[in-house]
């Protein structure tokens, strides 16, 4: 549904994005994850047909975003990062205007449906200028959905919302993703983890990773972490575990007698660890595995990228 190849955009001499290549299938929620100024908004804008790339190509639903821009724009719904609305219009008037520009059939019925979909039922005659940020975000989402697009491009859809509104919008996006392709940019890692089928991590305009959140966790982070707590001093415990022949990283934990261990993928060292500690005459108080979070992966990837650049 979305096919991006070698996408590059320069602002003057500054490369905002460089050589991005990725695809998104029908019915997939693809998360675009990156720190601020990573190039997420630029990518979204190019995909939405708002600005052309410096080089590379984008095809949406089989149409080239540059050559067949109108066809692409008919098929996408776009929610920019800061939802731009007309404060002097009511929600109904605004949706009527955007729907007419998109030549939506049976517009009145469609407005009713989309207002229900984004839960704005009791506010349809309210003026946009009087709405809270959360409600404005929903109006923005409603305009993106008014023409039932095949592809939804959402740039930071939960930014500035309160926790309850964030949960609501996330649930709404998950529901929408069952029928259409959604490209969602965010810098909130838990958001990508919760609602995206696949995640692309970009940093300084370059793609640094692409996979499902689960695969990223297992592949990029490598091993699972193991937390061990025993009846001894931390230093003593670290030394004891380091005498084991298996290759692993051992670091002191948060409390006395606690260590964190990262072992190579596919190796379950928990039985060996337990035996080693008990054989040393210590009491084993805790032994558990913990998954590495997307947050840690993100930091690992973006920091290693920065480090590589520094070394060059």
């Amino acid at each position: 549904m979305i096919k991006v190849e070698g996408l590059t955009k320069f602002y003057g001499d500054f490369p905002a994005i460089q050589d991005l290549t990725f695809n998104a299938k029908r019915g997939e929620i693809l998360g675009f994850l990156g720190p601020n100024a990573a190039g997420k908004t630029t990518t979204m804008r190019i995909l939405a047909g708002y600005m052309p790339p410096s080089s590379g190509s984008v095809r949406i639903a089989g149409f080239d975003v540059l050559e067949e821009s109108l066809e692409v724009r008919r098929r996408i719904g776009y929610l920019p990062e800061t939802v731009p609305l007309y404060p002097e219009m009511s929600i109904w008037e605004y949706l009527e205007y955007m729907g007419s520009l998109r030549k939506v059939d049976n517009l009145d019925k469609r407005i009713d449906a989309v207002i229900d979909e984004v839960n704005l039922g009791d506010r349809e005659r309210s003026y946009i200028g009087n709405l809270s940020k959360g409600l404005r975000q929903r109006v923005g989402l409603a305009q993106a959905l008014i023409h039932q697009p095949e592809v939804l491009i959402l740039d930071e859809p939960t930014i500035g919302l309160d926790p309850a509104q964030i949960i609501e919008v996330r649930e709404l996006i998950q529901g929408l993703g069952q029928e259409r392709t959604i490209l969602l940019s965010t810098h909130i890692l838990t958001e990508a983890q919760q609602i995206c089928d696949r995640v692309i991590i970009i940093n300084k305009g370059r793609m640094v990773a692409e996979d499902t959140p689960e695969n990223l966790q297992s592949q990029i982070a490598g091993a699972t972490k193991i937390i061990v707590r025993a009846s001894s001093e931390t230093r003593e415990l670290v030394e004891l575990i380091e005498t084991m022949p298996q290759k692993m990283d051992v670091i002191a934990g948060d409390s006395e007698g606690e260590v964190m261990i990262s072992a190579a993928p596919g190796l379950d060292i928990r039985p060996l660890l337990a035996r080693k500690i008990l054989d040393a005459g210590l009491d084993l108080l805790e032994l558990r595995t913990t998954g590495i979070s997307l947050e840690e992966i993100f930091l690992q990837l973006t920091q290693s990228e920065d480090k590589d650049e520094g070394e060059e």
Partner: protein, 243 residues
Amino acid sequence: MRTVFIIAKREFRLFFVSPAAYSVSVMIFLILGGIFFINIYFGLRGGQIAPDGRMVISPLVTILLFATPAITMRLLADEQRMGTIELLLTSPVRIWELVVGKWLGATGFMMLILGVTWIYPIIIHRMTNPGIDQGVLIAAYLGLVFMISAMLAIGTFISSLFNNPIPAFFITLTLMLFLWIIGGLGSGSGTASEIASNLSFVAHYYDNLYRGVIDLGDLVYYMSLTIISLFLGTQVLESRRWR
């Protein structure tokens, strides 16, 4: 063209909730009303001036010089300032449709104001016997329609250059004044004077149309200004996307 009319309709309706549009309308009708009253009360009744439907047109033309920049200043500048242009240009709207739609909405509003000013000639016509020369009046109003369209197109173009309506207002006003006063340079002889005269907003109106003579050259002049300005506005917005 349907998209153009959708944009024009929204723009037209927006003028009815816009303080700037109300201020412009009040200014036009207060000044014209005052001038009309003075002319009728002191001039026409005393027999000092002949009944003429155009007695409000000269002041109207001068007022329009200041009124049209106020009407056009926010047309595209506001869309750029608020970011709403991002949604318009990611919906299936061509840039020229946006520019022409905005201009058409503003033109519709100004035509409504112009239509209301028709009340003054009607009053004079009913007050005098045998009435006023309606042929001259129609030619003068036709000229105003073309002139206002050109002024609004220039304003729309200038508005496309800015993200803020205030500079758009002053630059439009400056450009209008230039096209206004350049007519003064056309009074001499020589190529420069001829060019100045051909570029002049005033000369094309007062030399023929105001006198009741419909010259195709004058209409072509205003139409050319309109088309060129709208084309330039479209190019400006297009170029902004590439930056």
